[in-house]
Symmetry: C2
Subunit: 405 residues, 2 copies
């Protein structure tokens, strides 16, 4: 027998892990899986709707088709051992059919994934499990919403249960009238109290099919117009007990829902240090991009290892602090001159471009830095961001209106 | 003007760097460029002779053709801004033609590359420049070799000037007769004294077209049957002065030869701390693989940045020590079970598989680890190596005959 000491929570499953994993969706998350897949020797065909999509442009194996076309998804399933995801928009029925027919393992499976697809299902389940959530209401009509508004003190967040992302499908309302269009278009809506949060946190864990889990340091995230914009890992000022408690919460959710792969638990933290779950994502997540350059095992490699049923990697950070700042499209269409200037200004900068055309507010890349001092790192990362987004000729400095800190 | 402080040695060239770089050759070095190219948003078509080659199997843009076929190389050149290399076997005349006709920039250029292609040219030039070399002789016939043997004390290393790699094209002889076949087949041979080295070192630098250079920590390397096998970064016991002196030597060679991209200078170190140049490589090099996981900027990203004329990245290590151990093919053909066991045994292990079929002694992958203690890291890396190469069922332990330390 090999002289190896299995970690306590590591199941000794048979086999060698999957070698061919199909990725549904071809956004930047699929794109950033490709490099780690090459190093691990995994084959990862990608299902894209357009050959110009972020991952499609750089994937060596590509299938064209829609994620909601049963035939397209089943054809990909037939050529791989495992199906995994760039996004959570694949209809549950398609995935259930693939599982039922034994075409491929679906990871995360549809029974878990539905909690990242449908916010009402998520709220109901987490509440039943006793995990902390904001107060919430199931809304079928204007009357329900009026009741919720009264109970919540006059203001709620209304969300479409499915299909939302990056601030889409989220609206703050004070009168039922303000949600009339959604009430007409959707069978049900979710209403939530506005949590008076002091900041947002995110906890990421990875889980293998057999139950092995690892947790990343809990991070602090800052949104801009509903889009993840800035992350500091670990979350400043979060003591060890709180780190542990929140990691345990994320592990418990992964366990309770039977997640395989990466799970991101986005959280509100109030001034008294209490947390409640905001959203779940069952895939690599924007709040985990820092780990590509800041942890022994980046989240994209970790996701592949988890869904391939390979042993998970260390989540240890490579430096006391890592920061990530998203590149959100501005007026400049050609990023190359600004990127060159940013790399010249900061040799430690790690640049990740998604190969997407620039549209205002669109996620087109991110930068990371590791070091000792979060504020200093953020200043450097935002300077790089401004150079790349505004171009090298634009004025840059602490008083620039575009600067957000 | 942006508030950026250009580094002193950074030329303020115009333009934004190249965006499309053709890679000639599809071995593991080309393969390991692909992940960083994706993150930097660079397009990197690969010229491969066979679609099953290491990089060909995972490249999104592939051309089939031979590196010594002028038409194939010129076709690749016509679709890119820059040509660079997985290996140094492209005939000089083809590259000179591409430069002359302005089809693409060739980086490193043929005038530099010839010093990595032809060991006689390299010895002559380095000697003229005053860089430290072993004693060497140009050998046209048996008489020359007999003279060299007499001057060297009865034993020399004979090398074919071109085409050698990983111990091929290298032979230790004590009589001219022992090189008779090579003397008949080659116009000239190189003979060198056997340097009584205490260990081998390697110094890597990157250089941009305009002259900016960065140097990586000098590493210690151990060969096995002429193949790089184990690397420790930085080289243990090498004091700061010696590190600086050797980095300066590598920078001077890059400058003197006009190298663009990565340059590896393999060196002999004798017991008294003197070094002499053994070989040059003008591309990412096996002795630099540690940097993928152990430095802020890995050598593959750095090579791309240098040949694309993008600002160079920090070479700072991410931990006090990094080690790399090559995976050289053994009896087991399916690496997956052993790889799984190795990942399970060591969550910090970084695994890089090249997607090559297993043949005894063939480079099929490598592992790296970072930490504080070189001996402990090497023990772990070799344990992983044995699990992967021999399979998880084989006995592993300090007394295994396969262990080399």
């Amino acid at each position: 027998m090999p002289e190896t000491t299995p970690r306590p929570d590591q199941p000794t499953t048979a086999g060698s892990g999957a070698r061919c994993l199909g990725i549904i969706g071809a956004g930047q998350l699929a794109r950033m899986m490709l490099g780690p897949a090459i190093e691990l020797g995994l084959t990862t065909p990608v299902l894209a709707t357009d050959p110009a999509e972020s991952a499609a442009a750089v994937a060596s194996r590509l299938r064209l088709g829609r994620h909601d076309d049963p035939a397209a998804v089943r054809e990909l399933a037939a050529e791989v051992e495992v199906l995994t995801f760039d996004h959570e928009h694949v209809p549950t029925a398609i995935l259930e059919g693939i599982e039922r027919d034994g075409l491929a393992a679906v990871r995360p499976g549809p029974a878990a994934l539905v909690h990242a697809q449908d916010k009402l299902v998520m709220r109901e389940r987490l509440t039943a499990l006793g995990h902390p959530c904001p107060r919430w209401w199931r809304i079928a009509d204007a009357e329900d919403l009026t009741t919720a508004l009264a109970e919540a003190g006059g203001k709620v967040v209304v969300k479409t249960p499915r299909g939302g992302y990056d601030g889409h499908g989220v609206r703050v309302v004070e009168h039922a009238e303000q949600a009339r269009d959604w009430l007409a278009a959707h069978e049900e809506l979710l209403a939530e109290e506005l949590v008076p949060f002091a900041r947002e946190l995110s906890a990421q864990v990875a889980r293998r099919p057999g139950g092995e889990t690892v947790a990343y340091p809990v991070v602090q995230s800052v949104q801009k117009d509903g889009v993840c914009y800035e992350v500091v890992a670990p979350a400043p000022g979060l003591d060890e007990d709180a780190q542990q408690r929140i990691q345990d919460l994320a592990r418990a959710i992964a366990e309770d829902l039977g997640v395989t792969g990466m799970l991101a638990v986005e959280l509100f933290e109030t001034a008294d240090g209490e947390v409640s779950v905001n959203e779940l994502a069952m895939r690599p997540h924007n709040t985990g991009h820092w780990s590509m350059d800041g942890a022994v095992t980046g989240q994209f490699e970790q996701h592949l290892r988890a869904v391939a049923d390979l042993p998970l990697g260390s989540t240890a950070p490579l430096a006391p602090v890592a920061v990530m700042v998203n590149l959100l499209g501005g007026a400049v269409e050609d990023l190359a001159p600004g990127a060159r200037a940013a790399l010249a200004a900061d040799p430690e900068l790690k640049l990740h471009l998604y190969g997407k055309s620039v549209r205002p507010g669109r996620k087109i890349g991110h930068v990371t830095l590791v070091g000792d001092d979060a504020d200093a790192l953020l200043e450097r990362a935002h300077r790089a961001e401004r150079l790349i987004i505004d171009g090298p000729a634009a004025p840059v400095g602490p008083t620039t209106p575009g600067a957000t800190r």
